[in-house]
């Protein structure tokens, strides 16, 4: 396959940056998108140019490290992560625009790499269950009904890649937060801190500069794990409950 790539280049956080056009040829349709970028980087290296910086880690779609805006779609045209996207999803001769996630809360580090520390700080502010030290209780000491366990697992699939924020017209992090709120809220262990968790996480989210949710659903469509929009309803419900409890 021969492709034209328009890739965002930016030398650092304070650089203005811009799209640069590259040509790649003899790309195998079985390559992943990141392998295709590796090929391009090899060529750039050979020419003595700076390679394109992008994030990746496991390359098997489970760590949430990679993430690119590919021709206007977070993680490209398929419902998967960028590392699991294959070049057979594109047409020979196609022009592909590659941009970093765009959100003020995710500042650009370099080229296609953004700093998603804002997500870590949201989790730090309440996305956990405090556990006392000592012997672990028996696994069956706290029974969890099957539907609750299933929903908690579904929400826990979130890998924190940030595609929801990238796809959202308001750059909102509500799907990410909703997934964590639902995950912990469905479990008995999550109950004692439930009100404080949602208030603290949403305040941190707003403090980081993410936008509000307008219930468009672009987040869910972009989510490589298919987290549904109803977790945002759960988040709203938990906040409303906390409000009622005087938080």
């Amino acid at each position: 396959m021969n492709l034209t790539l328009k890739i965002w280049r930016q030398t650092g956080p304070n650089d203005k940056g811009g799209l640069v056009t590259y040509q790649v040829s003899d790309i195998s349709p079985d390559m992943s998108f990141l392998e295709m970028l590796d090929v391009l980087n090899e060529e750039l290296n050979a020419k003595g140019d700076e390679p394109i910086a992008f994030d990746s880690d496991c390359r098997e779609g489970i760590c949430g490290m990679c993430g690119l805006m590919i021709s206007g779609h977070a993680h490209g045209p398929e419902r998967t992560t960028t590392c699991q996207l294959h070049m057979r999803s594109f047409k020979d001769g196609e022009t592909i625009t590659v941009e970093p996630w765009r959100a003020e809360a995710f500042p650009i580090v370099r080229d296609l790499v953004v700093d998603r520390g804002a997500f870590d700080r949201i989790i730090q502010s309440g996305g956990y269950i405090s556990a006392n030290t000592g012997a672990a209780p028996d696994a069956h000491a706290a029974p969890v009904p099957k539907p609750n366990a299933d929903r908690a697992f579904m929400a826990a699939e979130c890998i924190g890649c940030g595609a929801c924020v990238a796809a959202c017209p308001n750059a909102s992090g509500m799907l990410f937060m909703g997934a964590k709120i639902t995950h912990l809220g469905e479990l008995p262990q999550g109950q004692p801190e439930r009100d404080a968790r949602v208030v603290s996480m949403v305040n941190q989210h707003d403090h980081e500069g993410f936008g509000g949710c307008t219930n468009i659903g672009a987040c869910s469509q972009a989510c490589p794990k298919g987290i549904p929009q109803d977790v945002i309803s759960q988040l709203n419900k938990d906040l409303r409950t906390a409000l009622k409890h005087g938080h």
């Binding site: 003020e104 700080r121 509000g212 307008t214 988040l235 419900k237 409000l243």
Partner: protein, 235 residues
């Protein structure tokens, strides 16, 4: 602004963007309730001048002697005024937040039409409401050159008929109803989601259907009297 700090302590549920959305949802539902009543009153026009005008007069005498003349109407007006202030305040605050949450736009992203419809459509509706109040309530303007004078403007039924016999007036109201349909279709669904009533896939799908049905019901109900007048079915 991205930060490296945790948010200051002492923040409350009330200080969040979700609280603003809750304000928008509740005030929006007040409007939906009002629109249903307003639509019912408008449909009285199909029964003729007598039914329509006595309904209008009865709205003013409703609750007498417990309430003064026009008392109920003023209570409704105050509630609506507070609602529109809350609704617009929340909307414009969140709009500006969304703008500053992404300052650099994508080169290749198609913008989601729905949120643009809500914001610009909502702004259009706000302008329309001002016009509509000037037209039928505050000033009572007859745009019909053939039907002028106090016997038209002081008679609600005659003012409605005189107005919708004018083609451009009909167009303004049809445009407003298209905007209202788009606004309600997303807004009614969105309010349910914001209030946390859609926390399962089934409830979520149902909320979308409710949004569509409520929007269609209200808009069709509002369009019947003006179109009946325009096509000469009632006069």
């Amino acid at each position: 602004m991205p930060t490296t700090t945790l948010s200051p302590r002492g923040t409350t549920a009330r200080s969040t963007t979700i609280a603003l959305k809750l304000l928008m949802a509740v005030t929006g539902l007040v409007f939906v309730g009002y629109l249903l009543l307003h639509m019912y009153g408008n449909l009285k026009a199909l029964q003729g001048e007598e039914a329509f005008n006595s309904y209008a007069e009865h709205l003013r005498t409703f609750g007498e002697p417990m309430l003064p003349y026009g008392g109920l109407l003023w209570i409704v007006r105050v509630v609506l005024l507070l609602s529109i202030v809350g609704h617009a305040y929340a909307a414009y605050t969140l709009w500006s937040r969304a703008g500053s949450a992404r300052r650099t736009k994508y080169a290749a992203v198609k913008t989601a039409a729905t949120s643009q419809w809500m914001r610009w459509g909502g702004t259009f509706l706000l302008v329309f409401i001002v016009w509509h109040l000037l037209h039928f309530t505050i000033v009572k303007i007859s745009p019909n050159a053939d039907k002028q004078g106090v016997d038209v403007t002081a008679n609600p039924y005659k003012l409605v008929v005189a107005s919708f016999e004018v083609w451009w007036m009909l167009l303004i109201y049809i445009a407003a109803m298209v905007a209202l349909f788009m606004h309600l279709m997303h807004g009614v669904y969105s309010a349910q989601q914001t209030l946390g009533w859609t926390s399962s896939p089934k409830a979520h799908a149902r909320a979308r259907t409710i949004g569509l049905v409520v929007a269609a019901l209200i808009v069709v109900g509002f369009l019947i009297p003006p179109l009946s007048i325009a096509f000469g079915l009632i006069d």
